[in-house]
């Protein structure tokens, strides 16, 4: 109930404030970056993986080592099944939340992948 009230209020504010915001939102599609990241995993392309990561996700990759991370994904056989939705992070207009279906064999899980604007594109920060 709280959320609904807040959402309604947010919508009201958005309507009331329907003016140009001067947003510098990147033109690239954050979902495309997620697809490219999983393609890089599948190809075993460490450089391409790194190029699509930033923030905490890149830090964790550096901590673990890219080869170890690739091995982890390979062993787990995680693959992209689909992308259901892209939302603006309510706390940060420069972030996007990509609702992603990831699977292995018959199993499928939905995870929320967080991306942040980086120049004209997006980088995955939380996965």
């Amino acid at each position: 109930m709280i959320r609904r009230r807040v959402v309604l209020w947010g919508l009201w504010v958005a309507t009331a404030c329907s003016v140009e915001t001067g947003s510098t939102e990147p033109q690239a599609d954050p979902a495309k970056v997620v697809r490219e990241y999983f393609a890089a995993i599948e190809a075993g392309d460490c450089d391409a993986m790194r190029a699509r990561l930033g923030g905490p996700a890149l830090g964790r990759l550096d901590e673990d080592g890219c080869a170890a991370r690739l091995r982890e994904y390979e062993e787990h056989g995680a693959s992209l099944r689909g992308i259901d939705q892209v939302d603006v992070d309510g706390r940060d207009a420069d972030r996007r939340l990509v609702k992603t279906r990831v699977g292995m064999g018959d199993a499928e899980r939905t995870i929320i992948i967080g991306l942040r604007a980086h120049g004209t594109g997006w980088r995955i920060e939380r996965i």
Binding site: P56, D87, R126
Partner: protein, 298 residues
Amino acid sequence: MSWSSGRESSFGALFLVVPLALSLGCGADEPIDGDEPVALELDADVPLGLALEPDDDAVAGTFSDELHRLRFRSETTPEGFELELELNGMIISARLDEDGVLEYDGFASSNGEPTQMTDDDRAAIVALNRSIEALGTDVSEDLARLRRFTSVWSEFPDTLDMHHQVQVGFRGWNSLCGQYGQFVQGTHDDWSYSRGHDRTTYYALLSMDPSGPCSDGTYFWNNNTWQCFEPDHSKNIEYAYGSCFGRCGAGCGSDTQFTKDCLDHDSCVRFGHSTASFWCNDEFSSTTDDWLFAPSCL
């Protein structure tokens, strides 16, 4: 006291600043009626430390340290309970309703839009949890519930949707109190290795043994000695103990609920996966009713 009246009194300033600033900033002159949310200004007048405002069937208050500011409320309702935290521009709520549905949510406090758990959010929740732990065990049920909730949610993964429901009685929990002090098999399913696979399965001592000096605080029997480290799906590891293995919530604390789901979650995040990563999302989700319903073992 009903939750709504309580929210208006204690969370009365909850949504004050941001929408007001937005409405003023865009020149809107529409009236703000009393039903509209009012944003909380967490940067102002939140005293350092834990400040409590208890009453008969609720506890509300604030916590602040050098890095974090939080506001919280935990209330017993005729139907069950309602609980709410505000931190870092996010509201986290939990509610048990009259139909036995346990509902969680997490969203931006300024606009109600979805958001994602971050390292700093977990750190803020840990800080609040520790401040409640410092009060000891002789606290109200509302505060004890908040303590258990913050302990479990301090391990909330980055990639799990914060909005979800659990039908109480559907998922269930399996208390391990009868096996406290014994080695019990823990396992997890991380998509490549099934539950019960040698690389995801080992025995852990259910105990209140404290954390060791390594990152996960857990000792594993390796090369005929106990070593504090984090193995990565090693089929040579069969035994573990430490950091209150199997207890619901992060590491050690005053609550002593030991369940199969909490054991399996520990077995996942301490055996090659970080708390933040998505590999253990399922195991975490399975613990989201245990913290509320499982009995204390000690």
